[in-house]
Amino acid sequence: MNKIVIENLSLQYSDGTESLRSVSMGIPANQITVLFGPAGGGKSTLLRCLNRLNDLTEVRASTGKILIDGVNILDPKTDVIALRRRVGMVFARPVVLPMSIRGNLTYGLELAGETRRARLDEAVERSLRLAAIWDEVNDRLDDPAIALSGGQQQRVCLARVLALQPEIVLLDEPTSGLDPISTGKVEAALQELKKDYTIVLVPHSVQQAARTADHAAFFLQGELVEFRAGQDIFTNPRDKRTEDYVTGRFG
């Protein structure tokens, strides 16, 4: 069952740099789909289309459709605020907001109008547990989030997304700045999370792609070269360019 269906998505930025060329793919629910490939391939651009964060960037032209549960979210009439609550995003650099750990987690909920303390507390604990950081921070929820280590901050960022109980979680190289232990914790958390969420991950390496993928898509210069279920793309790539990349001939 595909949660997200992308149909002929093309996009050009105003400065003409990165773009997508007629990308079509289906992203299955409750699985981890990884988008991998060298820099400038359009992976981040695609992620940012899925929650319409590209609205903040100067885009010259975009065509095609992105259907989430059958509804085209690129339609100008889409409620982007509601969309972003359904489609959460974790960025490459851990960016905690300049407030307490608790404040980071309740921020989105408060914006959504939640004022009941019990509900907020419940969301804080639930999301911190899901992001595998509850045990490390539960005794200092009111401390500034910036005081945490980079790996802890990134898990707080993941928890911040989960607090909103989204349907889809997008992760853009979430472990690129983290040590292997923190990276392992984040990857383990993702494996748990996929039971309830649809996960789209841009990994920071081919190895991470191979470790985490239920489905994998290889992007090169804005083009979706190959999209396969399971580990096949890494062990038995069909396209020469995919093979060259996963075997390390370029990239």
């Binding site: 964060l53 903040l56 907001l97 921020y107 989105g108 911040r160 909103l164």
Partner: protein, 284 residues
């Protein structure tokens, strides 16, 4: 060239630079020390709380102190909301096009206009055309226009210093742009904005030329009752007693200068304290 000569030249060079750096401190310390030494004997409760007597040659300067306070408050009322709103527009919303570039050029040029020209403009617009008369209202408005560029530039800079990533993250969890600005950006930029505001107000408090035709009174036997009254003010009073009145006791002049200096340096000190506290607390 031997290494010892090179060494000597280098030390001479650095010595000169140190000397230049020290030279910039001398005028400010000199002024402050001199004004304090000359003015402090005049300071007394009577001087601060009394009205001028005997053709201003005796008594206190209360009406001038109160007047400068009113004018500063008036400037804050007009220029802070306008200036901060303009800065938010320029930093957060304005697209980069020919109109916003024109606005920026206008702001830069506003900062370059001589203060006496503001005074004449205020006379024409507020005092005569809008019929406010020579009043606290007209003088505050005139000073506000002069202060706006300082407040706008400082506020815009403070807003732009807030990392872009905070905005992206905030919007990605379902905030609108305005919620992002109000709850994250403004909160983080506030110390910088306050510093700019205080420095702007401080400049307004010390100006003479813009209030000369718009609201400053030579002498008033009572405190102003409404914004439509004219008022005495410290800078203008200082000008009057230093140049317009024969046989003026010198310590009253220096005393007045000292009060103005304390007023302005006090504001400056407040701004510095706000800035350094905010830097220590800053989470980015």
């Amino acid at each position: 060239m031997t290494s010892s000569t090179r060494n000597l030249i280098q030390r001479l060079g650095f010595g000169m630079m140190t000397l230049m750096a020290v030279a910039t401190v001398v005028p400010i310390i000199g002024t402050v020390v001199y004004i304090f030494a000359q003015g402090s004997p005049a300071l007394s409760w009577e001087f601060l709380s009394g009205f001028p007597r005997e053709g201003m040659r005796a008594g206190g300067i209360l009406p001038a102190i109160v007047g400068t306070f009113y004018l500063t408050v008036g400037v804050a009322v007009f220029s802070v909301p306008l200036g901060v709103a303009a800065a938010i527009y320029l930093a957060e919303y304005a697209p980069d096009n020919k109109w916003t570039r024109l606005i920026r050029i206008a702001i830069i040029n506003l900062a370059g206009i001589p203060s006496v020209v503001y005074g004449l403009f205020g006379l024409g617009l507020f005092v005569i055309f809008l019929k406010f008369g020579a009043s606290i209202l007209a003088a505050s408005l005139t000073l506000s226009i002069m202060t706006l560029p300082v407040i706008i530039s400082a506020s815009e800079e403070a807003l732009r210093a807030v990392p872009q990533a905070f905005r992206t993250v905030s919007i990605s969890v379902g905030a609108t742009r305005w919620q992002t600005i109000r709850r994250i950006v403004l909160k983080e930029a506030l110390p910088g904005i306050l510093t700019g505001v205080i420095l702007g107000l401080e400049r307004a408090a010390g100006e003479t030329a813009p209030i000369l035709f718009t609201g400053a009174a030579f002498f008033l036997p009572r405190l102003p009752h409404s914004p439509f009254d004219a008022t005495m003010a410290l800078p203008y009073h200082l000008f009057v007693i230093s140049t317009q009145i024969p046989e003026m006791p010198i310590q009253i002049q220096y005393g007045t200068a000292l009060v103005l200096l304390i007023f302005v340096l006090g504001m400056n000190l407040t701004a510095t304290i706000i800035r350094s506290r905010a830097r220590a607390k800053r989470q980015w």
